[in-house]
Amino acid sequence: MSRLIKSKRIFIHFNKALCLFLCLFPFWACQNDLYEKGEKTLAIGDFKRAASFFSSVLDEDPLVMKARYGLALSYFGLAEEMEWRGENALSFWQKAYDEFRILERARVLDGYEKMYSTCLFYWARATLSLDPEASVLSVLDRSIELDSTNYFSFNLKGLFLQSKGQDSLAQETFVYIIAKEPEFIAAYSNLGNLYWKKGDYENAWDIWSMGLQKYPNDPYLKTWTERAQDSLTVRFLMESL
């Protein structure tokens, strides 16, 4: 008798649990519906709406980290659009940066690090465009730490170091980029430029011409390679005289 009652009770508790689940399911489904809309709008590049949907999901449950990542990406997309329009997008980069920082602290989602790294690069760049004296080195280092293949951050770090007069560190950075990613053309131009400013026309010509070999049609490399070559020729002729 008692065993029968026990099994009946378990059965009833099971039913109660199922009922509870099914009662809560619509709330979850409602939240998920917003999340799904966020995903869809993000995928088609409607970043404004995506940000709104993901924000609503997070208002209901701030621990939905995928929604937070979606929100960060939406701000990222909005910031990009502003930059394309020629506007300073620091405010949106900052918003994206804030969301990524929360994701970083939560440590429950993987796969966002590269975008976080890229966001940091953009944030640093937008910050510098407003204030060239701003200290962004730690942010760039964090960006590189998050993604060691983010050569944009390396490149910006090199330029920043160069602007601060740390030419040797800048030089090392550009050389590192070229060694690791020979296709990253900006490093050739920046390294050549650095040599040129130092008066080391020979190395400047070497680097620019290396870049030109990879991208023969690039007008900038073409121009400056020719200019360096002319300078070297003039110098050689002057020395000959």
Binding site: K8, L22, E39, L42, Y69, E83, G111, L128
Partner: protein, 377 residues
């Protein structure tokens, strides 16, 4: 699996031969009638199960039951009313009206394949509104001796037919405040019941000098359908009894004007008695009773429950599929991130500075279009 139930504010209402009845507070919420039966009494769990789930105005609902120191207890809806035995006799129309209510309650029990089994004036409470409410059903045994059907003395189960017989005795009591037998010993009562004759009842009523010829005549078919030694000779169902009660009331409808006045007086009388009873009860000592284990009324798992469970389970599976489907879809955010990253990283790096004089400096390289994509926008 036992659950311990706590009753508070217990006040003894009645200490009878078979049980102690308390007015008590159940789980600190409802006021209930707590009945603790004496040892040896058996109960029918189906009765409690049915009354737990189904309600009827003429049957007190059961909330719980269990054991208290090896004795069976039950707690039911507390009816603010008075036992019909305490306010009998009644006029014929009122008695018939009350009996109609009881028949309605018994029909409800019959619909759930149950029989009360212990009909007596003590087990019928009358509320302030004049409505009768059945209490204390489901106890297995002969029931109240004076009201038991003849076959019940031969250990037959309580049935609709046996309840019909008990209703006959009950009606007689309500009209006369006495039983149709004079003996008080068990054997004598059994002997008298086994020789009861419906025709004798009309004579007994006539001898009481309290009933008119019309009333005795109107009641006669009812006795014939209820107080029969052979259960087959009684009414076939409660519905048939109800029809005869209607007919009897119709025959007595000439008294309707009188009835209306006497009925109002009777209600006032009831109200007064009930208030008196409640006041007396309020003054009684509050006892502390502990150690009630509940059998937590659990309905037998029948088909409906299984179907319900199956539907629930099916919904659960669908929900899980939905969730997993969503999980699969939710990769889209990560995919979107990867696509955005790919787009950003695949941009060519511009080489042509905005100011040829200055070459590439932070000021111009930092411009987004310059550094990422000379072709973009």
């Amino acid at each position: 699996m036992k659950e311990w139930i706590h009753f508070s504010n217990c006040q003894l209402m009645h200490a009878g031969g078979e049980a102690f009845v308390y007015r008590a507070r159940y789980k600190k919420r409802e006021t209930v009638a707590l009945k603790i039966y004496k040892e040896g009494l058996h109960f029918n769990p189906d009765f409690y199960l049915a009354l737990k789930k189904n309600k009827h105005a003429n049957v007190a609902s059961i909330f719980d039951y269990g054991f208290y120191s090896d004795r069976f207890w039950s707690c039911s809806e507390y009816i603010e009313g008075i036992a019909s035995s305490a306010v009998a006799p009644f006029s014929v129309p009122i008695a018939l009206h009350l009996l109609k209510g009881i028949v309605s309650g018994l029909s409800f029990l019959e619909n759930h394949h149950l029989s009360h089994g212990d009909l007596s004036p003590d087990n019928i409470l009358i509320t302030k509104e004049g409505s009768p409410v059945l209490i204390d059903g489901g106890i297995q045994g002969v029931g109240h001796l004076g009201y038991a059907a003849p076959e019940r003395f031969e250990n037959a189960e309580s049935t609709v037919k046996s309840d019909l017989f008990s209703l006959g005795i009950l009606l007689y009591f309500w009209l006369t405040n006495s039983l149709p037998y004079e003996k008080e010993e068990y054997d004598s009562i059994v002997e008298e019941i086994l020789h009861i004759e419906s025709s004798k009842i009309s004579v007994l009523l006539h001898l009481k000098n309290s009933f008119s010829i019309e009333e005795i005549g109107a009641l006669d078919p009812i006795w014939k359908g209820l107080l029969q030694l052979n259960s087959e000779d009684r009414f076939s169902s409660f519905e048939e009894l109800e029809e005869h009660l209607e007919i009897a009331l119709l025959k007595l409808s000439k008294q309707a004007i009188c009835l209306e006045k006497s009925y109002k007086n009777w209600l006032l009388f009831l109200d007064e008695k009930i208030v008196e009873q409640e006041v007396a009860l309020d003054q009684k000592e509050v006892e502390s009773l502990n150690g009630f284990s509940s059998h937590s009324i659990v309905k037998k798992p029948f088909l409906r429950v299984w179907i319900f469970s199956f539907i629930l389970f099916l919904l659960f599976i669908i929900s899980l599929l939905f969730i997993f489907g969503e999980e699969r879809k939710s990769q889209n955010v990560l995919e979107s991130g990867e696509q955005m990253l790919e787009r950003v990283r695949s941009r060519e790096i511009p080489l042509e500075p905005k100011s040829k004089n200055k070459g590439i400096t932070i000021e111009n390289v930092l411009r987004p279009i310059d550094i990422l994509n000379k072709d973009s926008l």
